[in-house]
Each structure stands twice: as structure tokens, then as C-alpha cells.
């Protein structure tokens, strides 16, 4: 580290302490989020005085032209005078930077230590070279398994890495408004973890991760990438879930009707397998009971039983609809091979396996069934990790659009089964190697317990104040200054904080263009319209539309 080569960019101001200082910055020499240094002296434990380099991060910059009198603006406007023609100062913006001290390093040793003696006022502030900043960050991260995610914001040469061990065991939340770059970031992390053969399970609602399947041969020849579609198969243990599903998806039932439903579930044993089949069986059985009420249900009126029959029919219809919607979506991507989700209770290794990425494609499913599917799946996988004879390796679960699975209680979504499951997985996950990554546009709508269990955070652009507040509330490491920056971030720029790094850092995430699923370029509506060609059915309809409308108009003609 050659500190002599660093450019001087300013001077430490005023009164300093051991946690922060201010300095006046020369024009355009540094930006918010930059890492800077100042030379200082600290007393060592042996009573010697040691020359050290103090490292800090610019947490905010204020610019003011102290020399520009506000009154002048008035005259400039009134008289339409160009300020550049006048003697008013235009280039003397005073830049005052606030610096959060990260720590100090000794000569020839990049270990960052906490500062215990204030920096010197009037000391010069330097802009360390990119190599040195990167070296410091790496040495400070001290990670056995660093993951490359991008570069320090607007300082391309400084590559940023995060600690994989903390990432997979301590849970991460990724927040930001729509289009801010969350998914791009997740794909970046997945790319790195795939190379490390770490098993992953992604709950993909939009098909954002299908690119991994398409590019598997080319980019991840040593990995397996599996694409599953959900299969609502439940076991008899999941009776509660079945009940909830029927209760919530069907018509609302009165108490006697509910009693009948419970008894029905008791009587008609479920042997595992497709839930839809089971419900269809329930419909048949219920109808039987209703047509011959004396047989087993003496105190329930047949009318009530028919209500339950209708309700069950409703549920069956809905489930079938969702399955079909999901199927139609899958069909559109004929090149991709979808497999039915294996039963996690009996064949977990088909889902979680070393080097394997499993994508569960949930498109078309409503919240509740999707939640049920996820709940059952994670519950089973977790059990396998919990058991003494582990059948599957540790793995990471990636939950996109997490507000669908773990809504906050205040959201008043009837308790989704996935909330309890994920809460359990996340609180005990550290012990069992079941890390979770939560991705959401609306952190304020997430279950607070779960969100606060995420020890690392990556936050992208966020304008909504409620969400900003939720984000800082759940984070111990994101500062107020950081959160002020959130609305101004551009695509792919995020602030990363928590245990995967040692101090919060603004990062430009590397964009892996090749990981985009190019089968559905669904963000480009304009070109979609440009290349639009009506479907055959629509063409036919349009062909005759004129004729029919003629008929109608003639028909309506008044006789004269």
C-alpha cells in the first residue's frame, strides 16, 4: 500500500471524534459512498505513538456556495441576467463531507481496527487507490468464500465481494421498488453459488429465473438445473392445510356446514397424492351422504351438506383452473423441460442436491394455494435437515415476491400456512443450514419477525417512505444517511449491509445479461405490439365482426 500515491482531496474540519468527522472536499474529487483516508496518530498499548491510516466512508455531502447571496438570485431573475456574465461567484461551491470512520490500519497491515483516538483536525484527506480500497475490503471481509457481486458505486475498479457463509446461513433480505434490480442481484448471487455447487431452491412466480435452464449447458455444465411445476400433493399429516384451503377457497360456510366438512375429512381418508383427486373424491362422498343422510350424519340437514358439496366443487374448479393456467404458461415455453415437483416428504434429494438449482415455477397460482404448496414443501425439506440422518445437504431458499408468502399480520391476509413455516425455517435455519433469501418490493408489508431475522440486507431504489422506514427498522446496519440515498439510486445500484459485509457499502451490481430469460421478453411491450399478429381465433372473430354488427344495426333500424 503506497499511501504517497493517493491523491489529496480535502482537509479535515473542526472538531473530530472517534466515530465521524467532517472535511471540506475539493470540487469533484469524491462522491457520497466513497472510501477515503486520513493519516493520524494513535497511542498504542505499549505507550508508543503509532502512525496510522484512518479509513472512512463519505456518508453525506452538502454543497453550498457560501459566497452566493440569496438576494442576488432575485435580481438575476427579475432582469433576466445570465449569472455567468456577472461578478457573482459561480465555481466556489463549498463541499462539506460527513465521514463515518470505519477504523484504522497500521503500516503494511490491512487489518481494520476500531479507532480509539480522534483524527487530527486540519489533516489532509486522501483518495486511496482502487487496488488499496479493494485490498482493504477483502482483507477486512476475511471471508473463506467470497462472492463477487459488483463494484463500489461509481468506482468501477473496486470490486465488491460478500461473504458466502453468512449469506447462506444468516438470511438475506433484498428490497427495492419494481425494476430496481433485485432479481438481477439474486441471479448474480445464484451464479456464484452455483459455481460453488451450493443447492438452491427458487420460488419463481414470474419466470425470472428460467434463464438458468436455458443457459445451463453453456454456463453451468457441472450443475443440474431443474424446473418444477407445483403439484398439490399432500399427506394425511397436512390435514389442517387441506381444511384451510377448502375453507378459504370455497364459499364461506356456517358452523354446522363446517362441522360437516371436518367430519367428512375425518371419514374420507386421504392416501396421499394429488389434492385435486382427493377433493373430487370428497365431492362424490359428500353427495352420497347428502342423498342418504340417515346413514352417518343424523344431526346435519341435507341442505347444509349440499352447500358443502357445492363449495368443494368450487374449490376443485379453482384448483383445476390454476393448474391449467400454470400449464398453459409452461406450454408457451415448449423448449423448457418442466417436471412435476417430486414429493418432498419421500424424495427430497430430487429437489435438494449438491450442485443443483431447483426452480419452482408458480405462475398462475393464487396466493393461498401457492402458500400451501410452499409451506408443505419447505416443511418437508426442513424436516429432512432437522433429522439426525440428514438426507439432503444444506441449501438456500430464494423467495421472490415474498409479500405473497409472508405478509405482515397487519395486512389482514388470512393466515397463510407459509408464514409459520418460513418463520420456523428462518429462526432455526442457522442450526440446520436452511438459509432463506427474501425478495420484495414492499418491505412494509412483510412479516416483521421474519424480516428482522435477516442479518444482511441489500436495498435498491425505494421511494415509498413506509417501505424505507420498514427497511431501516429491520436493519441494524443501515444508517439514516444510507436510507436518504435510497430514492436516488439507479437501476442495479443498491446498498448492501449486514453480516455479508462489514460495513454498509453502496454497490453497483454486475448485470449478467446472459442470465435473462429470453423466451419471454415481457418487459418490452412496444416491440411486442410491433411484432403483434392476431391469433387465428381473433382473426376469425374480426373477420365476421363487421357482418354481425351490420345485422344488429339493421335490426335496430326504425321502421318508417
Amino acid at each position: 500500500m503506497n499511501t504517497k500515491k493517493w491523491k489529496s482531496i480535502g482537509t479535515v474540519l473542526g472538531e473530530t471524534n472517534i466515530s465521524e468527522f467532517y472535511f471540506s472536499l475539493k470540487n469533484y474529487k469524491a462522491k457520497k459512498g466513497d472510501i477515503i483516508t486520513t493519516e493520524s496518530k494513535v497511542p498504542s498499548s505499549e505507550g508508543k505513538i503509532e502512525e496510522v491510516t484512518v479509513w472512512g466512508k463519505i456518508s453525506s455531502i452538502e454543497s453550498s456556495n457560501v459566497f452566493f447571496p440569496t438576494e442576488a438570485a432575485q435580481e438575476l431573475t427579475n432582469e433576466n441576467i445570465n449569472i455567468r456574465d456577472t461578478i457573482l461567484p459561480t465555481t466556489r461551491d463549498e463541499l462539506i463531507c460527513k465521514v463515518i470512520i470505519l477504523g484504522f490500519t497500521l503500516k503494511n497491515n490491512l487489518k481494520l481496527m476500531p479507532l480509539n483516538y480522534p483524527v487530527r483536525p486540519a489533516a489532509p484527506v486522501s483518495y486511496p487507490s482502487s487496488e488499496d480500497v479493494e485490498a482493504l475490503l477483502i482483507s477486512d471481509l476475511n471471508s473463506e468464500h467470497p462472492l463477487f457481486i459488483g463494484s463500489l458505486l461509481a468506482r468501477d475498479a473496486v470490486k465488491i465481494k460478500i461473504d458466502a457463509d453468512n449469506l447462506v446461513s444468516r438470511h438475506v433480505s433484498i428490497f427495492g421498488m419494481s425494476g430496481s434490480g433485485k432479481t438481477v442481484m439474486v441471479r448474480r448471487i445464484m451464479d456464484e453459488l452455483l459455481k460453488k455447487k451450493y443447492p438452491m431452491l427458487v420460488l419463481d412466480i414470474h419466470g425470472d429465473y428460467l434463464g438458468f435452464i436455458q443457459k445451463q449447458k453453456k454456463l453451468y455444465p457441472k450443475n443440474e438445473v431443474k424446473l418444477f411445476y407445483p403439484n398439490l400433493s399432500v399427506s394425511s399429516d397436512d390435514k389442517e392445510i387441506i381444511y384451510t384451503l377448502i375453507d378459504k377457497l370455497g364459499n364461506s360456510l356456517t358452523d354446522p356446514q363446517k362441522d360437516f366438512l371436518s367430519s367428512l375429512l375425518e371419514k374420507v381418508k386421504y392416501e396421499g397424492g394429488s389434492l385435486l383427486k382427493y377433493i373430487e373424491l370428497l365431492v362424490r362422498k359428500a353427495r352420497e351422504y347428502a342423498s342418504d343422510p340417515s346413514k352417518s350424519f343424523k344431526n346435519i340437514r341435507p341442505a347444509s351438506m349440499y352447500v358443502v358439496v357445492r363449495s368443494l366443487g368450487q374449490v376443485a374448479k379453482k384448483l383445476k383452473n390454476m393448474e391449467q393456467t400454470n400449464f398453459r404458461h409452461r406450454q408457451k415455453m415448449s423448449k423448457l423441460k418442466f417436471e412435476e415437483l417430486p414429493d418432498a416428504a419421500t424424495e427430497p434429494e430430487k429437489i435438494i442436491n449438491k450442485g443443483q438449482l431447483s426452480i419452482l415455477y408458480l405462475k398462475g397460482y393464487e396466493n393461498l394455494p401457492a402458500s400451501a404448496i410452499v409451506s408443505i414443501l419447505l416443511e418437508n425439506l426442513f424436516k429432512h435437515r432437522q433429522e439426525v440422518e440428514e438426507e439432503i445437504p444444506p441449501f438456500l431458499t430464494i423467495i421472490e415476491e415474498a409479500h405473497n408468502f409472508i405478509p405482515s399480520r397487519s395486512e389482514d391476509k388470512d393466515n397463510l400456512p407459509s408464514v409459520d413455516t418460513i418463520r420456523k425455517v428462518i429462526t432455526e435455519g442457522r442450526k440446520f443450514g436452511t438459509g432463506v433469501m427474501i425478495i420484495s418490493q414492499r418491505p412494509s408489508r412483510l412479516d416483521e419477525t421474519i424480516a428482522s431475522q435477516c442479518n444482511s440486507q441489500i436495498v435498491f431504489r425505494m421511494v415509498n417512505q413506509k417501505d424505507q422506514r420498514a427497511t431501516t427498522r429491520d436493519s441494524e446496519t443501515l444508517s439514516v444517511d444510507d436510507s436518504k440515498q435510497l430514492p436516488n439510486l439507479a437501476n442495479g445500484q443498491g446498498i448492501i449491509s449486514g453480516q455479508v459485509v462489514n460495513f454498509s457499502l453502496p454497490v453497483q451490481i454486475k448485470f449478467d445479461a446472459e442470465l435473462i430469460n429470453d423466451d419471454i421478453g415481457n418487459e418490452n411491450f412496444i416491440s411486442a405490439v410491433e411484432n403483434w399478429d392476431d391469433k387465428e381465433s381473433v382473426k376469425q372473430r374480426k373477420k365476421f365482426a363487421k357482418d354481425f354488427s351490420n345485422i344488429t344495426s339493421i335490426d335496430r333500424r326504425r321502421a318508417n
Binding site: E75, N78, D85, L88, T90, R92, P121, A122
Partner: protein, 437 residues
């Protein structure tokens, strides 16, 4: 031009003359109070009449946008000094610096504007080893003397800053000083006013080697005179600009000229001067009423240092007063709601109207205050920033204690500690000659 009723109304409608009078009314006799409005109206009418008669009133032109696009190629320099107000008991800290704001609007960013710090002093005037003034055992009231020393230093620093620009052959179209171009030197002629150190003079006026810098040559009066003479030789116009006048040099001289010409009788002259004095009427007061926004009055030559006046009389420096250059004083009224500003030069302006219009335009950029904006800018620059003041206060505190400790005298040390723990400047038991003894 205004008639009698106009003028009366103007005076009543919150002119500074009226406000000032109301402020002092308590102390004025009932008769003075009664007559104030009529008398001042009459004085204003008379002065206005003379100004018109002598054709002294100028109508300046101001076309904001066009003016600046025509004048953006001009280089202007604005000079001001800043003095730190810090004070600690038993030491007389002085942080002083002068700054220049130099701007050429149409230059590229890099060369458009410069802020220069020309003269800096950071020291303790009670410290015998201070590098500014020779140490003198002063029996004169110490507070007053201290203020004089600070003022003297500021005045010299500002003048010397301009001299440096001249010596460096800077290509300015204009140079403006915040304050009189020539200060009244009378306060520094008092007995016991210390001389500048050799070191200080050598730094201030490197070319000034008269009599090997003997004590007399290093006295404020001689050093300042030397600086003024250099300023007078400048190739570019240099103006001192004063916000408000609290005296009436212009009017008095105007009347004097008319008396000399024989237009006013000796008696009328004397009486009018007495009236002006009695009612505390100043140039600013009267011209505020007489002039319209954008009007100026042509400069009059005025002697700033008057021989045989006040304290100076009988002083060792009395003869010197005549050697000081005379000053050309004019006024410009920038807007309707502020008093006209005073414009001073050592030489009669060569391009009077152009120059005054330039000053008017720079002051229009500070539309409410009505003062050249460049001077406002440099004022902020020269001002010792707060954090500096704090730093300097700490510097003095430790400096003082160090001196005490070096003396190894327990009493002195405990005294120093006591002093440091006091905040107000009420301490009167300063050991003579400072603690270093």
C-alpha cells in the same frame, strides 16, 4: 427634483435621518425636537439647490442584462479584511486576514474567479514576542488601545493587500476596497501607540526601507502613508466603498467651496455647519432624501486628515497630516429603500460615469442591501470562520498555560489556570507585561 412637501414626506416616511433623530430625540432639547422636521427639510432643500446649481447630480444608467453581457470581460478585484472577535482574559488574541475576490466573468471556470488570502496574522498582542507590534508598556486605557491596535492592523493589512496587487502588476479593470480608501489616522497619533515590528513592516512593504526601518519609520502613520502613496500610483482605478456615512464630509466641503467662492457668507456657512452638527445630519441622511434611485453625485475633493483637529493637535504627527493625499468622495443611490453608498478614490476618476455605473450594477446584484456584491462576497471570505475561531481560542489557551508552566512559578501557574477557567473579559488583574515574566 423634489419640492418642499416631497422632502418633508420623505423625511417622515422612515428615512434614516428621521429614524436616527427619533432615536436621539430623548436627549435632544424640546426646541431641537420641535424644529427637527422644518430644519432638516430646509437644509435638504438648500443642499439640493446647491447640488443642482453646481450640476453635481448624475443620472446613471442601469440595464441589468445588457450591462453584464457588455462588461463580462472586465476583471474586478474586491478586497476586505476580517478580524476575529475572540477574546480571552489576559491575552489579546488577534486573528486577522485580508482576502481578495478576483473575478473575470467570461473566463473559463478554472480562471473565472480567485479567492486570495493576502495577509494573515495569528498572534497575541500581549505577548512581548508577537510579530506585529513592538511591545510597549501602555499606560493608556488598555481596552481602547487594544482596539486601536486591532483597527490599525486591519487598516494596514487592507491597504497593503492592494499595494501587493499593484506591485504584482495585476491586470485589473477595477479594484474595490470595503471601507474608506483612506482611513482617518487621528486615532493612531496618540502617545504610546506602538510601532510595527521590523518583521511586520518588511513583510507588509518589502520595498520600504527608509532609514533602515527605524522606529519612526515603522509607526502606523508612516507605514500607512507609504502604502497610500503606492495606491495613488496605481494604473487601475481603486475605489473605497462605504455603506453609510456617519459624518458629513461631502456637504461640509460643498458648503466650504461655496463659501470660498463667496456664494455663501462666512456667517451662513458657520451657522449651517452648527445646525448640521446639532441635528446630527450626515451625508447619508441628506442624500438619501435628495437623490433618486440610480442617481449619483459627482465627487468632491476632500481632505481626510485635518491638521490641528482634535487629538492630533499638538501630537508629534501633526505636521504629517498635510502629506496625506486628499480623497475624492462621491455618492451613489442604489435603490429607494437604502441610503446612498459613499465612493472614495485617491485620484479623480477618469471615467466617472462608466465607473459609477459599474458600481451601481454590482450593487444592484444585492438588490435589498444595495451594496456591491463583490464586497459582500469577499467579506464572507475574509471573515474568520467559526471553527477557526474555536481553534484559535484553544491555541491561545494552551499557549498561555505553557508560558505559565515555563515560568515554574506556582502562583503564576495557578493564576493561569484561574484565568483559563474564566470566560468573561472582566479580569482586571492582568500581571504587567504578561505571564512570561
Amino acid at each position: 427634483m423634489s419640492n418642499e412637501r416631497d422632502i418633508k414626506n420623505k423625511i417622515k416616511s422612515n428615512s434614516s435621518l428621521f429614524t436616527n433623530f427619533v432615536k436621539n430625540a430623548v436627549s435632544a432639547s424640546p426646541k431641537v425636537q420641535n424644529n427637527f422636521l422644518d430644519v432638516s427639510t430646509q437644509v435638504a432643500l438648500t443642499v439640493q439647490k446647491i447640488l443642482e446649481d453646481a450640476d453635481l447630480i448624475l443620472n446613471l444608467e442601469y440595464k441589468g442584462k445588457d450591462f453584464w453581457s457588455e462588461n463580462k470581460c472586465k476583471t474586478s478585484c474586491f478586497v476586505d479584511g476580517g478580524v476575529d472577535k475572540t477574546s480571552i482574559i489576559s491575552s489579546a488574541p488577534l486573528s486577522i486576514r485580508t482576502g481578495s475576490y478576483i473575478v473575470k466573468p467570461d473566463a473559463a471556470d478554472k480562471n473565472r474567479e480567485f479567492f486570495e488570502e493576502s495577509m494573515v496574522f495569528l498572534g497575541d498582542l500581549y505577548d512581548p514576542k508577537n510579530e506585529l507590534y513592538d511591545f510597549a508598556e501602555d499606560d493608556f486605557d488598555e481596552d481602547q488601545m487594544l482596539n486601536k491596535k486591532k483597527d490599525g492592523a486591519r487598516i494596514i493589512f487592507e491597504a497593503v493587500t492592494i499595494v501587493k496587487h499593484i506591485l504584482l502588476n495585476r491586470k485589473f479593470d477595477y479594484c474595490f476596497l470595503h471601507g474608506p480608501i483612506e482611513a482617518t489616522v487621528m486615532p493612531f497619533t496618540v502617545m504610546g501607540f506602538p510601532t510595527f515590528t521590523k518583521f511586520a513592516v518588511e513583510n507588509m512593504l518589502p520595498f520600504y526601507s527608509k532609514n533602515k526601518l527605524n522606529a519612526e519609520a515603522r509607526h502606523f502613520i508612516n507605514v500607512y502613508l507609504e502604502a497610500l502613496n503606492s495606491i495613488k500610483k496605481s494604473k487601475f482605478p481603486i475605489y473605497g466603498i462605504v455603506e453609510t456615512s456617519n459624518s458629513a464630509p461631502y456637504i461640509k466641503n460643498l458648503l466650504f467651496n461655496y463659501k470660498s467662492k463667496g456664494t455663501i457668507s462666512e456667517k451662513d456657512f458657520k451657522n449651517t455647519l452648527a445646525t448640521i452638527k446639532k441635528y446630527k445630519i450626515t451625508d447619508s441622511h441628506l442624500l438619501e432624501i435628495i437623490l433618486q434611485s440610480g442617481q449619483a453625485i459627482k465627487p468632491l475633493e476632500v481632505k481626510k486628515q485635518i491638521q490641528g483637529f482634535g487629538v492630533t493637535s499638538g501630537s508629534a504627527w501633526e505636521d504629517k497630516m498635510d502629506s496625506f493625499p486628499s480623497v475624492h468622495i462621491g455618492y451613489i443611490k442604489i435603490n429607494n429603500h437604502s441610503a446612498p453608498i459613499r465612493i472614495e478614490t485617491l485620484n479623480p476618476p477618469k471615467n466617472l460615469i462608466k465607473d459609477y455605473e459599474y458600481i451601481l450594477a454590482t450593487a444592484k446584484l444585492l438588490p435589498n442591501y444595495g451594496f456591491p456584491v463583490g464586497l459582500n462576497v469577499v467579506d464572507k471570505f475574509a471573515k474568520i470562520p467559526n471553527w477557526m475561531s474555536k481553534a484559535s481560542r484553544k491555541y491561545y489557551a494552551t499557549h498561555l498555560l505553557k508560558q505559565a508552566i515555563r515560568s515554574k512559578d506556582q502562583n503564576t501557574i495557578s493564576l493561569a489556570v484561574k484565568i483559563l477557567s474564566k470566560k468573561v473579559r472582566s479580569w482586571r488583574n492582568r500581571p504587567l507585561g504578561g505571564l512570561a515574566r
